[in-house]
Structure formats: C-alpha cells, structure tokens
C-alpha cells in the first residue's frame, strides 16, 4: 500500500481505505449496491498483511453487534451496508451511541421503502440524522461526493470517532458506491499497537490490570437522574461538534442570487446545473453539504440573508429541505426538487426546476 493513482469503484475505495487507515476489523453482510466493500476486503486478505480481521456475519443485526463487541475493546472497527440492511442495524446504532463507542459505518443508500429498489437514492436522510433508532442520539454523518472522498473520509472518520467517542456514518448512495473514478491512495498507517490501543481507548475492555478498576461499556443506567445527566453530556458533545466539526463547500456563492443546496450525488448534478445556469447568465451558486450532522446551520443562515431563493436538490421526496428551512428561518423562498425511487435527475432537469420554482416564480 502506497500512494498511487488508481481507477476504482467507490465501494472498493472504502475497503482499501479501511485497510490503509489501519482498521482492525470489518464485519458485514452482503447487500446491493455495496457488496464490493466486503468482496474487496476478502480478495485483499488483509489478515495476511496488516492483521485486520474480516468476517461475513449472518445478518446486519449480527454485523453491527459485532462492531459493538469489537469496537468496545478499543479497536478500529467498521461495517457497511445499504438501506434495508441499515434499517436492521438501527438497534446497534442506538446502543453504540448510548455506550459511546467509536466506529465507522457506511450506508450506500438505495430507494425505499421496504425492499424498494437497488438503484441509488438519498431517502435515508431522516433515518441518518434524526435518529433511526430510539433515544436522543446523533451519528456524525458525513456525505462524500466522489470516489476520492469515499477513500479520504474513512481516514477522517477514525479521527472524529475516537476524538468524540461517537459512531461515524459515511452516508453515500449506490451511484457513488458503484461508479469508477480515479482515486489517489495513501501510504499505510499501521494498525495501533497494544500500547496505542490502551492510550487511545482507556475506557475500553482490553483486560483489567490491577492498576485500574474494571471498564464497563454499557448503555444502561437505571437511575433516571443519572441517565438524564448522561443525556445532557451527550447533548453537550453534539453541541461541541456543531461548533467545531461542520464541513461544507460553498461554490460560486459570493455573488449568487440563487443557491442550490445538495449533498452527495445530487450535489454533483447541481454543480453541473449551476454551470449551465451561469452560462445563461444566471447568478447561481451551490452550497454542498459535507457534514449532515452537524448540519451547516450557520452557513445556510448566512446565505439565506444574501440569496433571493434556494432550491434543495435531493434524491428523495424532500428530507434535507426541512433542516435547510429551519436554518434559513424562512427568510427566503426555499423549494425542493427531487427524483426518487432509484431515479437520478439530469442537470437540465435541475436547472429547469430552479428557473421554474425559484427564479421565475
């Protein structure tokens, strides 16, 4: 593993990044459109080189609980799935959040509800950032828009996961998972040594020495006042992340009268639509969201003061738009344009929607 420019699928990039970033384990279950993650890992056999464990579990329920079991020992553990599998994993997500266990999860979204379709969608936004499982919790949710970002965000995810003791969700879709692009790989970061594991995860279960009390990794607190105090601690952590870990890309927004707001695949289509609009002399910008939680509230609010209107472009029936409207405090017209059920809009469709729903309204 070294720096080199390679052509690869988004799913493959995630797998290769896991190995290169020193992951200790991956536990997964096959589901379209992201099965290449585990297939790549199994083909690479990292247990022969870096010592990374890769296991095919009997279900997504088992694989996310394996993530819990392994990550609770202070190891760098990951999984991946797609929408129906991610629904099954929601139990694990809330327990991981409640026990403050760092880990990395990738969701290559496909259309739903139910079995839906295997084609790309962005209809798991609510599930991802509004708490798909029970209880007051958040996942750090980050949305790559290219194969390169699929690769790079895995490296970033470990840092956030262990800094905040939080599960990190890489929220992508079947299009980015399946498309092939060039990707610059990185030099291998060695897996943590035993000493590094203990230093980086002093809270974890790695065998109680006489020098400390036993470490318990749990999400249970039967005393309500202590549970409330814990909830407050979690909320404080989330507020800190809102201060320090927001990521977005504002493109051509400085002089923009009209702004697309989008993430992932939609943001790439909106980017092209913006270029087509600029060619027609329309002052259109793009706010591309990178973190979905923490949500770039301040940037949306700032742009809402400047722009005449915003169009939220999503491959869903309109989910992210709720957060955009809340952040913008209804200071400008904000409309939704989306294709869903596995359909992907064209740049021409998106530009036409901007003209019809915002500019010429």
């Amino acid at each position: 593993m070294a720096k080199e420019l390679k052509l690869m699928k988004g799913n493959e990039a995630v797998a290769r990044a896991m190995i290169a970033s020193g992951a200790d384990g991956y536990f997964g279950y096959p589901i379209t459109p992201q099965s290449e993650v585990m297939e790549t890992l199994m083909a690479e056999q990292p247990w022969e080189t870096t010592g990374m464990v890769v296991l095919q579990a009997e279900s997504e329920l088992a694989s996310i609980n394996m993530v819990y079991g392994g990550a609770a020992t202070g190891k760098k553990v990951a999984t991946s799935s797609s929408s129906p599998g991610i629904s099954l994993m929601q139990e694990g997500f809330t327990y991981l959040a409640g026990a403050e266990i760092p880990c990395v999860i990738m969701n290559a979204m496909r259309g739903g509800p139910g079995l839906g379709t295997i084609q790309p969608a962005q209809s798991d936004y609510f599930q991802s950032v509004k708490g798909g499982g029970h209880g007051d919790y958040q996942l750090y949710t980050i949305a790559p828009a290219s194969v390169q970002e699929m690769y790079d965000f895995v490296f970033d995810a470990w840092d956030i996961a262990f800094k905040y003791r939080i599960p990190v969700l890489i929220l992508t879709d079947g299009a980015i998972g399946q498309c092939m692009e060039k990707c610059m790989t990185r030099d291998y970061i060695p897996r943590w040594t035993e000493e590094e594991r203990r230093a980086n995860a002093p809270w974890a279960c790695w065998g109680k020495p006489a020098s400390r009390g036993h470490n318990i990794v749990t999400s249970l607190e039967l005393e309500s006042s202590r549970q409330e105090a814990f909830n407050q601690k979690l909320q404080a952590k989330y507020r800190t992340m809102e201060e320090n870990e927001v990521k977005y890309e504002a493109i051509n927004c400085d002089d923009a009268d009209y702004i697309f707001v989008a993430y992932g695949t939609s943001s790439r289509i909106a980017m092209k639509a913006m270029q087509l609009g600029r060619e027609k002399g329309l002052k259109i910008g793009l706010l591309r969201l990178i973190t979905l939680f923490p949500f770039p509230k301040k940037k949306v609010a700032e742009l809402a003061k400047q722009a005449k209107g915003m169009l939220c472009v999503e491959m869903s029936a309109g989910q992210m738009i709720e957060d955009v409207k809340l952040a913008a405090e209804c200071k400008v017209p904000i409309e939704h344009y989306g294709r869903y059920g596995g359909m992907i809009p064209t740049p021409e469709d998106v530009l036409a929607a901007m003209e019809k729903q915002i500019i010429n309204k």
Partner: protein, 275 residues
C-alpha cells in the same frame, strides 16, 4: 453471642472471591444467578486470568452482571451477546471471552446469533442460565417454558397448539460441528455446584485449545417467577425441569456423549404440583 465471637479473620475458611466486586447483588433470594456468578468468578480467579478476561452481559435478570464481576465487561443488546463475543475474541485472540445469558436472551431473541456463533466455532465460553421463564420482565413464557407450565403469558399453562414446544437449544447446539464442549449443570446443591464449576473451568480452559465454543447450560430455578419458595422451587426443578433438561455432559472434546439421546423429546411429562 457465641457465633459472633468466632467471626475473626483468622477463622475464615470461605471468602468472597476477589473477582467478584463488593456490589450488592440485586437477585431474588433463592435465585441461581448469584451462585453461577460466583463459580464463574472463582474459575477466573483460580486460572489467574482476571486481567485477560472480557465478559459480555445480556439483557434479562443478569443485565447488571457487569457490576458484580471485577473484569472488563461489555453490555449487549438483547440476544446479541454471541455477536459481541465473536468480534471481541477475534480482535483479541489472546484474551478469554465469555458470554452470560438467560433463556429468553439466548434461545428466543438471540437464536440466530447463538446458532451462528456456535456454528462458526468461535473460541469462546458461553454460560447459559435456563430457568424456563422471563424473570426480569415479570415471569412471562420463555422458549424453554415446559408444557403445562404456568407463566404470566400462559396463565393456564403452556399449550402446544398455542405456544409450540420447549426449545432444547443446548441439545440443538451440541449437534453443530462448531461446539467443542457442551454440558448442562445446576447449582441447587453443593454437589451440583462443584460439578457446574468443573464444567465452567473446562469451558474456560478450552479457550486455550482454540477448538470452538464451550457451552455450559445451568438449569436454574426462578422461585419468584414460578411463585414458589426457594425450597419448593428446587424440588420442582428436580421433578420437572431435569426430566426435560437432563443434567450432565452432552458433548466432550468435540464428540457427543454416547449415553445422551440427543433426539429425545419430552412433551408429556406431567408437571408436579407444589404443595
């Protein structure tokens, strides 16, 4: 007065093992969990592996087991302990990993995780407490509830037509190639406790061999859930649970014990009545 006079450190012949914490156990008087905890802790102490052990706690009466064992402990979601243990062990192959689960946890909601961890031959020790009832939630039917046995959700007794048959998951697991040692024990008499402890010791020692799952069921009473006194519950367990869940080794060194009829199905054993 005479009794108090002899309470002196030099007269102590039996003390709490250091692998148990000083936390007061919440278990009902008469429950088998306390004894089961103690012998697991004694085994860890005697093997000198307190600093090399990870326990996985279930959901159920023993959900707070992690407060009582002075070893590192993970608390699982309901039924998922074998999945947690799978990863904990594979990522830490030099540590000893054990799960501790009840019948609802292991044999109902967690059946898939149980069977697949056993079938993969994970190199772990699984402790399974079978009392034929959901204790913590107030005494509802468990997969192991006997035919005719009353519970909060089978107030007129478990009925085959309505509720199906008691699940003998231990026998089922013994048929899987991934289990190396399978034994059913109890902790209701001093002799039984010694045998159960020996089985648990075997289960932990087996982790050094890396040959698969060691599975120890402890058939235990739940006098609160069964609505009996502790003494009545132990007697009822001998008369009714043991014919359905026979005590003894089922699989040793990866081979089924010949004298055990793995296929035997008991469905018409008349329940004895508590007097």
């Amino acid at each position: 007065m005479a009794n108090l006079d002899i309470v002196k450190p030099e007269n102590l012949v039996y003390t709490k093992t250091k692998v148990l914490t000083d936390a007061t156990m919440h278990y009902c008087p008469g429950c088998g969990h306390g004894t089961a905890h103690r012998i697991v802790a004694e085994v860890i102490d005697e093997m000198g592996i307190q600093d090399q052990t990870i326990g996985i706690a279930p959901v159920g009466c023993s959900v707070l087991a992690y407060n009582y064992f002075d070893v590192d402990f993970e608390e699982a979601a309901h039924g998922r302990a074998p999945a947690l243990a799978t990863a904990a062990k594979r990522l830490n192959p030099d540590l000893f990993v054990f799960t501790y689960q009840g019948d609802g946890d292991l044999a109902a909601i967690g059946t898939a995780e149980t069977i697949h961890a056993c079938n993969r031959g994970e190199n772990i020790t699984m402790i399974f407490i079978n009392n034929g009832i959901y204790g913590m939630t107030g005494g509802q039917m468990a997969p192991t509830t006997l035919i005719g046995m009353k519970s909060q959700t089978t107030p007129r007794g478990r009925n085959i037509e309505r509720n199906g048959y008691p699940l003998r998951i231990t026998e089922l697991l013994a048929t899987l190639p991934g289990t190396y040692f399978v034994s059913r024990q109890s902790v209701h008499t001093a002799a039984a406790v010694r045998k159960a402890k020996a089985a648990i010791r075997q289960g932990f020692e087996n982790q050094k061999l890396k040959k698969g799952v060691s599975f120890i069921e402890i058939c235990s009473s739940c006098n609160s859930g069964w609505k009996m006194t502790p003494v009545q519950a132990n007697k009822w367990m001998e008369e009714n649970m043991f014919p359905n869940y026979p005590i003894g080794d089922i699989k040793v060194d990866g081979k089924l014990v010949e004298s055990v009829d793995i296929n035997r199905i008991v469905v018409d054993h008349p329940l004895s009545v508590v007097k």
